[in-house]
């Protein structure tokens, strides 16, 4: 075993320059990196991004939010964020236990691209964009286009995720996150649903976003449903939700649940999530 290299730069440029010339494996909180290597030594060259100032911190301006890539779930939980981010905070509280929340990062969750990543549906529902930088420039990608499949993203090997951006929602919009697992803490989701709802002055749905996770390789927005319920009273919207709204889901059978169960539970949770998000 030859000694592996470990780089822990403080400046983004330094990290990007390194990524441009050598196949480094990016490491943030390590909560996905190390569990994949139980009983094995680290045999890759590691680029540790946790000391890069540009990747840290949360900024809120108007209704827009910039979440630095290495923001931990704990930092997210304690941050002052618009109400519509309540679902994202709820998701953060559901990630692992406190130890994992103290170390695991938002970008790590997205880049790891697990079908059961709790951050993905929560951020999808918020319409998040991913900011990527490389030596040759920067770009922003919709989260829906960033996560391509199970463990696959649109990130090029020379790129780093620098931040996640949220665009404003109407004042008073509310976000909800519901996670279904087999136990209370430290549990991989069987199904999770994130919903954000804004009501108009008459109490009708003005804007709605719903994302379902763990029921397809990549969490899915239910765009048909979202468009259909605009203008409806929440109760009529909820009453009208059927399996037909979930056709974009392609759940599988695994040890955590059958495909049929996932579909069934997703329907229940989508209704509950919209109901809760529409309840001021």
């Amino acid at each position: 075993m030859s000694a592996t290299r470990y780089l822990r730069p403080t400046h983004l440029e330094e990290a990007l320059a390194a990524l441009g010339t050598h196949p480094w494996t990016v490491l943030a909180g390590g909560t996905d990196f190390y569990p994949g290597r139980v009983g094995k030594p680290v045999d890759v060259d590691v680029l540790d991004v946790t000391r890069i100032a540009d990747l840290r911190g949360i900024q809120v301006a108007g209704g827009a939010v910039r979440i630095g890539a290495t923001t931990t779930w704990s930092e997210l939980i304690t941050a002052r964020l618009p109400n519509v981010c309540a679902g994202l905070k709820a998701a953060a509280r559901e990630v692992g236990g406190v130890q994992i929340q103290n170390a695991g990062t938002v970008a790590g969750n997205l880049c790891n691209a697990s079908p059961a990543a709790d951050g993905v549906p929560a951020l999808l529902a918020l319409g998040a964009e991913v900011e990527l930088h490389s030596g040759s420039g920067a770009r922003r990608v919709n989260l829906g286009e960033f996560v391509l499949g199970s463990r696959r993203t649109a990130r090029r090997p020379d790129e780093l995720v620098v931040a996640v951006h949220l665009t404003p929602w109407p004042e008073g919009a509310k976000g909800v996150f519901l996670k279904l697992g087999h136990r209370r803490y430290l549990v991989i989701s069987v199904v999770m649903v994130a919903a954000c709802v804004a009501l108009d002055a008459a109490g009708r749905i003005a804007r709605c976003a719903v994302a379902v996770g763990a029921c397809s390789a990549v969490a899915q927005r239910l765009s048909g449903l979202e468009a259909r319920v605009v203008g409806m009273r929440p109760d009529e919207a909820i009453a009208g939700i059927t399996n037909a709204d979930l056709t974009c889901l392609t759940p599988i059978d695994d040890v955590r649940g059958s495909a049929a169960y996932r579909r069934d539970a997703a329907l229940t949770l989508v209704r509950q999530a919209i109901e809760q998000a529409a309840t001021p």
Partner: protein, 927 residues
């Protein structure tokens, strides 16, 4: 652009500077090294435990800048410049701090392997919130798993830091039995001082890595090991089947069916094939695919059904039809009795493989040493049974027994899983070949794929009763999937039929079982030896009959409960200590309240998806081996310093024998327990206490201790010149023996001692009296039984199939609680395992062999548990005390299933009842 990389190499040479427990340290190791490994290996701070190396168990929790993190998944580099606190940093001026003190007082540490992690998580919480409520405690400790305590005592302890005085007193002379004295090994567990299997090894010990079968069934040949070693010079030695002097072992004399290292043929995924010996990280870096093993996979017999139908295709030549063992108990005539019954109920029930999931993966070391001119071997490892380890090691090396010295490590949970040897024979073979110390530590997946499981069962039962609700007959047939090797399969097959009729008087019983070989993980001993599976089936049918009769479910059980004077299915007349009715009576108020609460909640949640229910279940459990002799011998001496030395061979596994045995000894001698020192488990120093299983230690070894103490008392009185029944007192190094007015003094400083330093040695032996079972299973299989009834209250979300247990009430007849805190702790832990068995635990080799996918209850899953201790003393037992270890868990799953049934109307006939399965069942409805 290599500049940054060069910088990092320079950094590597410089090391990482951080503060650990207030002291600045420099770690010179790979920056990517896991912090937990660096703390343990580079700094010797072994108080930080490793249960999974994957973030899943929290045993490695430390504080970094005051915040809890899993140090097993944190690179050393990220600790640069930061403040790390480990359990070793908690005591204040050498004393337990307030939190540790509360843990001690409340019995929050059992085996202690999770304790450092729990303490660190709680320290983080208390620094932020000095007066937390229970919800805050759960949230803060949610990332640390405990398999022993059921978390309740941990919650109590954390809450008590702010609210209670947590000082603990040592009981005075004569007051030890029945007291809530703190565990004697508690301080060591709370400071990180306790040494578990992975915590010590001789300097320069080589590491042993085992290569295991990726196939459930295969033939294999070994390629050139010399070529392999040329490619990997780090491999200093290799062991294969050819290196094992006697390549077969098993817990019983026959069949010795399991090889230490497979010889050309594997029978389960995870079977040991080859051992590589050398430096740990170099060995770990070798890809499995590079090891020259040529596999020829074969179609496996995956289920008992397949194995029973596989004509001529036997896993082992000596077991035709793939049946390892059959069990049978027959009394009366079942068929006509069922035909004549007013009501009958029947069903088929299935349970899954369940993993012990102790938080400590198997670990230990072996070394050779010279003594009296001959070479002996010492094995230090986690075990529930040091004396059986000694036999197995001697056997595989073809050495005389006395050439083997077994020193048990502290054991981080066992529950039956460490009743079989794991690392011991492998280490023995390696050390014998290398003639150098060798150590090994299983990874979590290795522990899970290679060690035993609870037997999956398929049980068919019919139960009948008369119009008055009195049971008439039980017809029980159970097949138990015993996996590839015998292990404790025959114990399960023999124990289950005895218990199949439950703690009820049933005139006609037919109970037959088979332990069936398959190419699955080895099923062995797991808390209850098959009885929990059987209890799920029979208790469900008890509910059926109660419903049919229109009798309240608790009342129905009370009507049929075994009482003193009743005859069991094996024809044994129970003379005394039959506390079944007292347990049910004790639960009556809670039952009434639970039923009222269920009705009110269901009323209030009408129109929602939430339904409520309560269930009750009973169990009984024979204490000790089924018929087979299981003696224990204990010795205790008095030393010149005026202190006693208890040679305690009853292995502590978290259940408390390190405390219970001195409690009994102290009261039997009439001296304060604080005067008793111990040597524990060491096979050179203690006598054989028998295994820590079958809930036998308090009863069997407790008696041996009592007899040993009485023997010593007599010998000391004789030395002092007093009558043998005089009572002794110790005043410093003066012994005073008092009898009816007379008083004799003995100056210990002037006494002669034996080589070990004892002035006199008392010895006691006890073997529970039993009568062998005849062909129909008639006889006296156990000397005494434990009894219990439990109530579970649940909330079911019928749309999602999720079940939340809201409360458990547990009434246990334990004869006498030698230490009520420990009895409660056993019950809590048993309930938690029962809850896991009922709702979430299913081991599937290759898919759930880690603690990420194999789910055990977390602190958020265990409801409040109210315990009722029923003390119907057993005349044969020390101070009346029977065991509770296994009884604790048996009634929980059936009580939960009964509650689900009341909530939803469906009878659950499988375990675990996961949300997807329950939802499917609810959609189908009960057949």
């Amino acid at each position: 652009m290599n500049k940054p990389a060069e910088q990092s190499l320079a950094a590597l040479r410089q090391g990482t500077t951080l503060s650990v427990n207030g002291t600045a340290v420099r770690l010179v190791c790979a920056p990517s090294k896991r912090l937990a490994h660096a703390l343990r290996e580079d700094l010797g701070l072994t108080g930080t435990k490793i249960g999974c190396d994957a973030g899943d168990c929290g045993a490695c929790t430390v504080l970094v800048d005051g915040r809890q993190v899993c140090s097993c998944i944190m690179p050393v580099a990220q600790a640069e410049g930061r403040e790390v606190t480990t359990v070793e940093g908690l005591p204040q001026s050498g004393c337990l701090n307030r939190l540790q003190q509360a843990f001690l007082k409340h019995g929050a540490a059992q085996c202690g392997i999770c304790t450092p992690g729990m303490l660190m998580a709680a320290t983080d919480l208390l620094a932020r919130n000095a007066n937390p409520d229970e919800a805050a405690v759960r949230d803060a400790l949610g990332g640390v798993l405990c398999r022993c305590t059921g978390y309740r005592k941990i919650i109590e302890a954390v809450l008590a830091v702010a609210t209670a005085d947590n000082t603990v007193d040592s009981p005075s002379a004569g007051a030890a039995v029945g007291s809530r004295m703190a565990r004697l090994d508690g301080p060591a567990k709370l400071t990180g001082a306790e040494k578990f299997g992975a915590d010590v090894a001789p300097a320069g010990a080589l590491f042993l890595r085992i290569i295991r079968s990726p196939h459930a069934r295969a033939r294999f040949t070994l390629g050139s090991l010399d070529d392999f070693r040329r490619r990997y010079p780090a491999v200093e030695g290799i062991i294969s089947a050819a290196d094992v002097p006697e390549n077969s072992f098993a817990v019983f004399p026959t069949p010795k069916d399991q090889p230490v290292l497979a010889d050309g043929h594997v029978r389960f995924r995870g079977e040991a094939v080859l051992g590589l010996i050398g430096e740990e990280s170099a060995l770990r870096a070798i890809a499995e695919a590079d090891v020259p093993i040529l596999w020829q996979p074969l179609p496996a017999l995956e289920t008992p059904e397949q194995a029973l139908a596989a004509t001529g295709d036997w896993l082992h030549d000596f077991a035709p039809e793939n049946v390892l063992c059959r069990g049978r108990v027959v009394k009366g005539d079942v068929q006509p009795a069922l035909a004549a019954s007013s009501f009958t109920a029947e069903g088929e029930f299935r349970t899954s493989h369940v993993e012990h999931a102790y938080i400590e993966p198997e670990a230990g070391y072996a070394e050779l040493f010279e003594e009296d001119g001959r070479t002996r071997i010492r094995v230090f490892a986690c075990t529930q049974t040091p004396y059986m380890d000694r036999e197995e090691v001697a056997r595989v090396l073809k050495l005389p027994l006395d050439a083997v010295h077994v020193v048990p490590s502290a054991i981080g949970g066992g529950f039956g899983g460490k009743l079989d040897v794991s690392v011991q024979p492998l280490l023995a073979v390696a050390v014998w070949k290398m003639r150098r110390p060798v150590r090994m530590v299983y990874t979590r997946p290795e522990s899970m794929i290679s060690t035993t499981k609870r037997h999956p069962a398929r049980i068919r039962v019919r139960l009948g009763c008369d119009s008055g609700g009195r049971l008439t007959a039980v017809d029980f047939a159970g097949d138990f999937n015993t996996g590839a090797y015998a292990s404790w399969g025959s114990t399960v097959a023999n124990r289950v039929p005895v218990h199949a009729s439950g703690p009820y008087a049933v005139p006609n019983v037919r109970a037959v079982t088979r332990a069936v070989y398959t190419h699955n993980a080895i099923a062995g001993a797991f808390r209850g030896f098959g009885v929990p599976q059987a209890c799920i089936a029979t208790e469900a049918l008890m509910d059926d009959l109660a419903l049919q009769c229109g009798i309240d479910r608790l009342e129905f059980r009370l009507r049929n409960a075994l009482r003193a004077g009743h005859e069991t299915a094996t024809g044994q007349t129970l003379a005394a200590s039959v506390g079944m009715t007292q347990c049910l009576e004790a639960l009556k108020p809670a039952w009434k309240e639970a039923l009222a609460c269920v009705a009110a909640r269901n009323g209030a949640s009408a129109g929602t998806s939430r339904r409520y229910g309560a269930g009750v279940a009973c169990m009984w459990y024979g204490i000790g081996n089924t018929v087979i002799a299981n003696p224990s011998t204990m010795t205790i001496g008095l030393r010149k310093n005026g202190r006693f030395m208890l040679y305690n061979g009853a292995q502590e596994i978290g259940q408390g024998t390190y405390t219970i045995m001195p409690q009994i000894a102290a009261d039997a001698l009439g001296v304060p327990v604080a005067l008793i020192d111990q040597i524990h488990g060491d096979t050179d120093q203690t006598e054989d206490g028998g295994k820590s299983s079958a809930s036998r230690q308090t009863f069997v070894s407790g008696n041996a201790v009592k007899f040993a103490a009485e023997d010593l008392n007599g010998k000391l009185c004789e030395l002092a010149g007093a009558p043998a029944d005089a009572r002794i007192e110790l005043h410093g190094t003066t012994l005073i023996a008092r009898a009816a007015g007379a008083e004799k003094r003995l100056d210990l400083a002037r006494c002669q001692t034996d080589a070990r330093g004892d002035i006199a040695l008392g010895r006691g032996t006890f073997n529970p009296p039993t009568v062998p079972l005849d062909a129909n299973g008639q006889g006296v299989p156990y000397a005494t039984y434990g009894f219990a009834a439990q109530i579970a209250e649940v909330e079911v979300d019928v749309d999602l199939g999720t079940v939340k247990v809201l409360h458990v009430h547990a009434a246990h007849d334990i004869g006498r609680a030698v230490n009520p805190t420990q009895v409660e702790g056993q019950i809590h832990g048993g309930v938690a395992q029962g809850l896991g068995l009922a709702l979430m635990e299913e081991y599937i080799s290759g898919r759930t062999d880690n603690l990420h996918d194999y789910l055990i209850p977390t602190i958020g899953d265990i409801p409040p548990i109210t315990t009722h201790l029923v003390e119907d003393p057993e005349p044969l037992a020390p101070y009346g005390a029977k065991g509770v270890g296994e009884p604790a868990l048996i009634a929980t799953a059936p009580a939960i299933f009964g509650a689900i049934r009341q909530a939803t109307g469906v009878r659950v006939d499988f375990a675990p009842c996961t949300p997807d399965r329950l939802r499917a069942l609810l959609k189908r409805g009960t057949p």
